[in-house]
């Protein structure tokens, strides 16, 4: 089994995928309505795409290839509105958030499709427990070696991205104490975590062939890494983010990734080393558990700082690139949010602290998704 060849794509082009929750408007539990929604949308012209996902209570929307933050924002908004008007006709709710607050995973149903059924047979209950909702961002790369440089370079910013997008404090009706509990479900998969430290495409192909010859994998889709190359698109795909509660937040996180990528591609500021990954899982855990207040250990200096400060200083460091890309205003907003401790996980907890039951929290999530708006 050979790895497909890397189809170069426009540098810094961006594509965003959001996995969304489909809920009933009676009890706000997940509802198996993906097929009905897709059917209702089949006659609508879309800017981008809307696809089924693993279980029938999930749906995925994805933008086309975009270059500008404004385009991402506009496409996400138009997809959200198209989905929203179909959902109103069916009287179902749609919301963001990395987990559903109180669903019972045992009640989920796997979507009827060969790949989903195969995964369900392979992973058993893990497949149903994988009813979690993430944001994936693709970044276009002009060559495979640049893709690998970007992959390892961006891995330093994984904690930043987790803290900014975290929106999964509740699982199975409980407050987990985590800001992003979703990633704990991902870790159960055997091929999750980080990509191996390989910095050129020839070596990566060799690694893939070795893995394929063990019979463990047959395509890149079998790797559930935090960041993985997607050769057929010519992109790397960053997969650690929870789906935010608004498309604006999702677009802002994508803009942050795009700006970081420009900084890494043009300045080539890092000398990559396997040892960078010594602190990787620690940093990742801190971000999932504590969000902005988590500890970030710098891979080279080993300095400890709160993740909020690491985010703020990273945004200062890439300011020039943000101005070039036109993302400076939106990044300034993210920086202010990080320093003030504002994210979706905190917003969700605040809804619940008023004594509202979790069903009402999910209802508030649906309203927030439909209306968008600032934190």
């Amino acid at each position: 089994m050979r790895l497909e060849s890397f189809a170069p794509s426009r540098a810094l082009s961006i594509g965003v995928e959001l996995e969304l929750q489909l809920v009933g408007t009676h009890d706000y539990d997940l509802a198996p309505v993906a097929e009905d929604l897709l059917r209702a949308l089949s006659r609508t012209e879309l800017q981008g795409d809307i696809k089924p996902e693993m279980t029938c209570s999930m749906i995925e929307l994805s933008t086309g290839v975009c270059d500008q933050y404004e385009t991402i924002c506009a496409q996400l908004e138009s997809l959200r509105d198209a989905l929203g008007s179909a959902a109103r006709r069916l009287n179902v709710g749609i919301c963001g958030g990395g987990t559903h607050a109180f669903q019972n995973w045992g009640e989920r149903r796997i979507f009827d499709g060969p790949r989903f059924q195969y995964l369900s047979d392979l992973y058993g209950y893990l497949a149903k427990q994988f009813t979690v909702f993430g944001q994936h961002v693709h970044v276009g790369c002009p060559s495979p070696d640049i893709a690998l440089y970007l992959l390892h370079g961006l891995s330093r910013y994984i904690p930043h991205l987790i803290a900014l997008s975290a929106s999964s404090p509740f699982v199975q009706g409980q407050d987990t104490g985590f800001e992003s509990a979703r990633l704990n479900s991902v870790l159960a998969f055997p091929l999750s975590g980080r990509a191996p430290f390989v910095d050129n495409w020839r070596d990566f192909e060799r690694y893939f062939e070795k893995m394929a010859s063990t019979g463990v994998v047959s395509s890149m889709k079998d790797f559930y890494w935090d960041i993985r190359p997607k050769p057929e698109y010519g992109t790397i795909e960053i997969r650690v983010m929870d789906t935010p509660l608004t498309v604006q937040r999702a677009a802002a996180v994508a803009a942050y990734i795009q700006t970081l990528a420009r900084y890494l591609m043009i300045e080539r500021p890092l000398r990559l080393a396997e040892d960078d990954y010594l602190v990787y899982t620690f940093n990742r855990f801190q971000a999932c558990r504590f969000g902005y207040q988590g500890v970030y250990v710098h891979p080279e200096t080993h300095e400890h700082t709160p993740i909020a400060e690491a985010i703020a200083s990273s945004i200062e460091c890439i300011e020039q690139h943000a101005i070039e890309l036109g993302t400076d205003a939106v990044l300034a907003g993210l920086r202010a949010d990080a320093l003030a401790g504002r994210n979706d996980a905190r917003w969700l907890r605040a809804q619940h602290e008023d004594g509202a039951p979790l069903a009402e929290v999910v209802m508030a999530q649906c309203t927030r998704w439909a209306q968008g708006g600032a934190m």
């Binding site: 009933g24 009676h26 198996p32 209702a40 009287n91 004594g355 009402e360």
Partner: protein, 399 residues
């Protein structure tokens, strides 16, 4: 002096003993039904129709009056919950769904009426049975939905259409009875009485909704007192509706729908009634059948079969006619029509209402409706369950 401290011989048990025995046997019938992989309510419905008359047939209505309030409370609770699941906003977002409901109501009424009219030549009888045929049993539908923990488009539409069917059936039958009053008692009463019932039910619904909203303000949404207070509220409602001679079905349904309309938050107290409703449901099936005369069953069988076929055509025709436009594919539109089949406790109660005012006419429609519910109580539950499984909306079938 003679103190009543020693038991009589032979001991006198009153109606309580046979009622209790009937309940145990009905519960066991439900269990047998479950083990046979059928809906539990199928067992209840069948047992209720057999055991009710056999064990309780010898008692007259006054001896059973106390137990009847349990039946009425059960109906009020379920219709209140059903009302809360009826989202009126959905009809404005998806007018084709409302069209589906209208079509299905109109077709089942017209087809049943014309078929019975052609065969029996008795217009009033055909009208009354057609009005009852419009209904879909809320008790059966809600129990099957709860048993399957169903969720999805067919489930949501089934509950919405079931609520509208129940309401339409009650209103239509009252209008038919208004017509009967006209025949027997003059024109004024024919118009005034249905009007009184309708306005009274709406006002009653508003009061129930207001009282519930008040309770919800004081009692937290997740507290234990909420469900208990709601049950008590409906006990009061049943008592008041009784005193005012208003239909029991309409006001709780309207009240529930108003709660949902005015406060779209999730209202989950009703779904926490749990074992209270399941016990009441068993009581309801037993008592609904208690006044039945089994010898009538055969008498009405012929007309009942015709009515069942006409009604089924109407329900399926209605759901298939606008299914696609309302956003449901053909196979699930068909499933939705099948899910609407059950006819049970509410229909029997409606007949009983007629019988109290027009005993002779009531007897005649009872024979037919009894035979209809004998088929559509047990088999209707099976049809509803098939529909939910076929649409893959059961959340227990997939494990």
């Amino acid at each position: 002096m003679d103190f009543p401290i020693w038991p009589d011989w032979p001991p006198r048990f009153g109606a309580l003993l046979p009622v209790g025995l009937a309940l145990i046997l009905t519960a066991l019938a439900g269990e047998a039904s479950r083990r046979a992989r059928l809906p539990t309510v199928s067992g209840y419905a069948a047992a209720g129709l057999l055991l009710g008359p056999v064990l309780l047939g010898s008692f007259d209505a006054s001896e059973l009056a106390g137990y009847r309030s349990a039946l009425e409370l059960c109906l009020a609770l379920l219709l209140f919950e059903l009302g809360m699941r009826l989202d009126v906003r959905w009809f404005s977002a998806n007018p084709w769904l409302f069209a589906t409901s209208l079509a299905e109501i109109a077709l089942s009424f017209l087809l049943t009426f014309s078929a019975l009219q052609a065969i029996s030549g008795d217009t009033m009888l055909a009208l009354a049975i057609a009005a009852i045929s419009v209904g879909t049993s809320p008790v059966v539908v809600m129990r099957v939905v709860a048993e399957q923990r169903a969720s999805g488009q067919v489930t949501d539409r089934l509950l919405a259409l079931c609520a509208l069917n129940a309401a339409a059936s009650v209103v239509l039958l009252k209008l038919v009875m208004g017509g009967l009053h006209g025949v027997h008692g003059g024109g004024g009463i024919a118009l005034l009485h249905p009007l009184y019932l309708l306005v009274g039910s709406i006002v009653g619904g508003m009061l129930i909704a207001a009282a519930y909203a008040g309770l919800r303000k004081i009692v937290g949404a997740e507290s234990e007192q909420g469900p208990a207070a709601t049950i008590a509220l409906l006990v009061v409602a049943v008592a008041v509706l009784h005193a005012l001679r208003l239909p029991l079905a309409l006001a709780p349904l309207i009240g529930g729908a108003l709660v949902r309309w005015l406060d779209p938050r999730p209202h989950l107290w009703a779904s926490q009634f749990g074992s209270v409703t399941s016990t009441l449901v068993i009581v309801a099936f037993i008592l609904a059948g208690a006044t039945a005369n089994l010898s009538h069953l055969a008498l009405g069988a012929g007309l009942a079969l015709v009515a069942i076929a006409a009604r089924a055509l109407g329900k399926l025709g209605g759901t298939l006619a606008f299914g696609d436009r309302s956003g449901l594919d053909r196979s699930r539109s068909f499933a939705l029509g099948m899910a609407l089949m059950p006819l049970s406790v509410l229909a029997l109660l409606q007949v009983e209402d007629v019988r109290q005012v027009f005993p002779e006419f009531g007897e005649r429609i009872q024979a037919v409706v009894l035979a209809m519910t004998a088929v559509l109580g047990a088999l209707g539950a099976i049809a509803t369950r098939w529909a939910l499984l076929h649409s893959r909306e059961s959340r227990i079938g997939d494990r």
